[in-house]
Amino acid sequence: MAEPVRIQPDLKFVKELQDVGGESLKKCYQCATCSVACPLSPAENPYPRKEMLWAQWGLKDRLLNDIDVWLCHNCGTCSDLCPRGAKPGDLLGALRNMVYRKLVAPTVIGEWMSSSKHLPKLIAIPALLYLFIWWLSTGLTIPEGPIEYGKLFPGDFTIDPIFGAVFLFVCACFAGGVLKLVKSFQDLPQTFAVGVKAPPKPTLVACLIDVVKDEIATHAKFNQCGKDNSERFTGHLTLFYGFAALAIVTSVVAVAHWGGKILPFLTPMGHTPMHLTNPVKILANVGAVLLLTGLIYLTRRRMNADPAKSASNYYDWYLLGVIWAVALTGAFSELLRLAGIPTLAYPVYYLHLVAVFMLFAYLPWSKLGHLVYRTTALVYARYSGRLPLAHPEEKTFSV
């Protein structure tokens, strides 16, 4: 006779899951429609039916170690076809939210990021910080002469050190998170194919290349997901390339500016504000337009979504809201500067700094954390054999 299995449900965890977006999980009656509906779910132990069961039973350990929540790109087809309105798509989203909330220390930030009631604190930190700097630089007044934001917030002494520190802090947090995540995946039960010669294990580099090609750069998997995905696909891809463009711009400016201290010929490339015909500035403006376009697509989709099929939660709106704030304040900082209206331009730039801080400093605990966690999981899924490589390595063996 089989060993009896003692299930120790964590009821508090079930409650927490319901709070972060899985409120319908108890409606599930295990019909398994969702696992079939999902175009990405593997044939062996497909998701999300098993996750629905684990969630109902409060099997916290299994859920928090579950790599499959990252294989889901949340198209919502499972929720559309769900006969009970249990919204399995939302549950997987809730599980990802749980990772944002709990994976990385200091978890108090995760706590603050989980509910709108803590939002004032999150705003207050950068708001006070940059207000203090403004007070130090000009005593909270609007400076005379041509608009240069460096007059309020001198790059070398305020912007760069703060964001540099934030960058290192975020990197350290992510490094810890990635290690923790991989370790949790390693605890997964292994699948062994008996009698079948296992294909050679791919290298980590090959897996990473596969993920970058198939998932990130082209969003190919993301696009396979769902029936009518064009709005989500276009929006997400546009937003992604908007960010990519702006990341390149920031890197060029930072490298040229600080590199210029050692190699003086770089300095002019990093000098801001740039002329509108400067290629870097053109890229920056293109990035801003892409960002706004993507935001419009994604926000419109969420506004029009049928609440009976998929509900947007605080994590979704926080991220969209902050990116909107970054994009709008960024665009208006530039426009107001060009229009020469200092009384508006400086305060808007101040708001821009607050928004950018909120996007980056809290990144490991926000939905944008998927950038790192999902990439980690997708690479590991290929490495461990959970997912096949889309483009297997070409290897020739001579006999």
């Binding site: 009656y29 019909c31 398994a32 429609t33 079939v36 497909p46 039916r49 098993k50 076809l81 006969p83």
Partner: protein, 415 residues
């Protein structure tokens, strides 16, 4: 003016039963039936569960009781269009469609031979064809032919009329309206199979070898389009691998938000149809929960003891056609093993649910819930019977029919 007669809307098993129960204790009843025959869904079955006897057993007795009871009046091809009044005094408007065949008909079949136009057979749920002049089914009550006049040209109609030596063809028959005064109304409007076209992920009714469970009854019935041979529609081949897909539209808030109660038993029953005809056939039933309440559990145990019958827990959520062979490929996750796979079958039967016939309809004075079931409101003379009330098997339909008759009598008694 107070009236103590009773109207029964629907002449299926529950309607007939309600009518007879009231008539046999002395009340005058009127049955209004939409089809050209009485017997409803039961008449279309091959066998009842769990005893696996043919529907003529049961229906025949009921028809005999109707013939012998002058208190029972019935109208076929008739529909209630309006009900006004109050308990004890309703005025009901009934629209009668023309049959074009009068009571002189002897069911000799000469008109059907003379007819050349063929139409999809409603009784066989589109699996076969019928002539424009036709007998609704072999066991039709009343046993009288019907002519679909609008489908024929002038010459054909003349030939059909000439073929009848009894003068039973009446081409001048026209739609009529009659008014009935009754004291109570029993709604025995029954059910319809859930429309397969709405099950988009299950092929939307467009895959030839994916049929509904009611179509399976017609394939298995000796009076059906194949004479009782179960052959798949695309190429009339004998199926070797057959799948049943449970909850096709039932227990699903996107379709029918309730359990249709009979489909598990119906599929088990139909599995026996296949297994007795094809000793080597493999049958798989895909289910969420196998619901065989009460004594039906014994039937389930008996049927599933067959080693060629496989039960898989997991709802089929996708069906596509295998282009080369016409086979149906179903995708399902076995929720016990956690393996998702594509399985090929020669024939797939969707256990489509019971949708109440009144779904989406509004009738003044009648309470219909969001699913389309009639809810009998106390104090009114409107009573629900059979599957108009909730999903039921034949036995329980008869029980609710007797109860409905009693409630109707309580409304009209002493008036």
């Amino acid at each position: 003016m107070a009236n103590n007669s009773i109207l029964v809307v629907g002449g299926g098993f529950s309607g007939i039963t309600s009518a007879l129960e009231a008539a046999e204790v002395g009340y005058e009843v009127f049955i209004v039936e939409k089809n050209p025959y009485l017997g409803g869904r039961v008449a279309q079955l091959n066998q009842y569960f769990p005893k696996l006897c043919p529907p003529s057993c049961g229906l025949e007795i009921q028809f005999q009781r109707i013939r012998n009871n002058p208190k029972v009046n019935y109208f076929t091809q008739a529909e209630v269009t309006r009900v006004t009044g109050a308990p004890g005094d309703y005025e009901v408007t009934v629209k009668l469609s023309p049959r074009h065949v009068n009571e002189k008909c002897t069911a000799c079949g000469a008109c059907a031979e003379a007819a050349t136009t063929e139409l999809p057979c409603e009784f066989d749920l589109g699996l076969g064809m019928r002539k424009a002049a036709y007998r609704p089914n072999i066991f039709a009550f009343p046993m009288r032919y019907v002519l679909t006049k609008e489908a024929c040209g002038k010459d054909e109609l003349a030939k059909i009329k000439a073929s009848c030596v009894y003068g039973a063809i009446d081409l001048d028959d026209a739609p009529r309206e009659i008014k009935l005064n009754v004291g109570a109304v029993v709604w025995a409007t029954g059910w319809k199979p859930y429309d397969m076209q709405r099950l988009e992920n299950l092929g939307a009714g467009k895959i030839g070898n994916v049929i509904s469970n009611m179509q399976m009854e017609r394939l298995a019935a000796p009076n059906g389009p194949t004479g009782g041979k179960i052959l798949r529609p695309s190429d009339a081949a004998e199926p070797k691998r057959v799948a049943f897909v449970q909850c096709a539209g039932s227990r699903d808030e996107n379709h029918l938000n309730f359990c249709s109660y009979i489909c598990c038993m119906a599929s088990l029953k139909q599995a026996t149809y296949i297994r007795e005809r094809y000793p080597k056939a493999q049958v798989t039933i895909y289910y969420i929960d196998l619901r065989t309440p009460g004594r039906y559990d014994n039937f389930m145990k008996k049927v599933t003891a067959d080693e060629n019958l496989h039960l898989v827990k997991g709802k089929v959520a996708a069906i596509v056609e295998h282009a080369a062979t016409g086979d149906a490929v179903v995708t399902v996750e076995n929720a016990v093993t956690g393996i998702k796979s594509d399985e090929r079958f020669d024939l797939v039967v969707l256990a489509t649910g019971m949708q109440p016939s009144l779904a989406g309809a509004t009738v003044a004075g009648l309470h219909i819930d969001e699913d389309g079931f009639v809810t009998s409101a106390p104090g009114t003379g409107m009573v629900a019977s059979g599957c108009a009330k909730l999903p039921l098997d034949v036995m329980k339909s008869a029980q609710t029919a007797t109860a409905a008759a009693l409630k109707a009598i309580q409304t009209v008694a002493g008036r």
